[in-house]
Amino acid sequence: MNINILDHLDKDGIILRIKPKSKKIIITSIIDHLIQKRKIDKKFKTDILNSILQREDMGSTAIGSHIAFPHARINYVKDIIVCIGISKEGIDFDSLDQEPVNVVALLLSNQKEAGLHLKMLAFLARILRDKYLVQRLKCVKTEEEVLMLLNKQQEVVR
């Protein structure tokens, strides 16, 4: 597992206090955030959004354990973009275990990067399956704190 999350995530890729709206509105707000932070170009918004929502229609990416991994494989990104959204109270994300979701890890990966996509998913699953970490992420106050917790956790699971 040779992923270093800090190579792929900075504070602009973190959204604290996601509002408890519908899944579509939440995903749209994450994409808007990435556009605002210049991580993706506005002209691809509709395509990216449709691609993520189509994937959700095939089966929810809220796989249980209060985590969701909405994602799309598209050619508009260089390799991979990671965005972590956090909701303290939990959001309804059509979760497979019917539990509210507290951590949304959105992934946009280039179609040529299937290997990296799988590695990133595995990495995030590995660090986020620790319930204690999810509990701590729910209570963070700053984006830097999220980066610090994820960095610490990756050293533990390595």
Binding site: G59, G64, A114, L118, L121, F123
Partner: protein
């Protein structure tokens, strides 16, 4: 209780990413037997999506499937053929 173990390679083009991992766990949960997967010495619960994803089962990965319980033979047949499918 019969325990069955079998070794094989993942043939799916994109490996065990979110969707096949979810489908695998749904299939595994149809059986009473316990289901575990081992890759590079690490063993995970095959009835938990997050655990299965954490394995990072890429195409060509060598996996050991360990199934234990009353319906282990049937479970092994179905789960193994699912993992060996070569579509996405």
């Amino acid at each position: 209780m019969s325990k069955i173990e079998e070794h094989f390679d993942i043939k799916r083009k994109h490996g065990l990413h979110a969707r096949p991992a979810t489908l695998f766990v749904q299939l595994a949960n149809k059986f009473d037997s316990s289901v575990r997967l081992e890759k590079n010495g690490e063993v995970v619960d095959g009835k938990s999506i997050i655990a299965l994803l954490s394995l990072g089962g890429n195409k060509g990965a060598k996996i050991k499937l360990i199934v234990e319980g009353e319906d282990s033979s049937e479970a092994m047949d179905e789960l193994k053929s699912f993992l060996e499918e070569d579509d996405d």
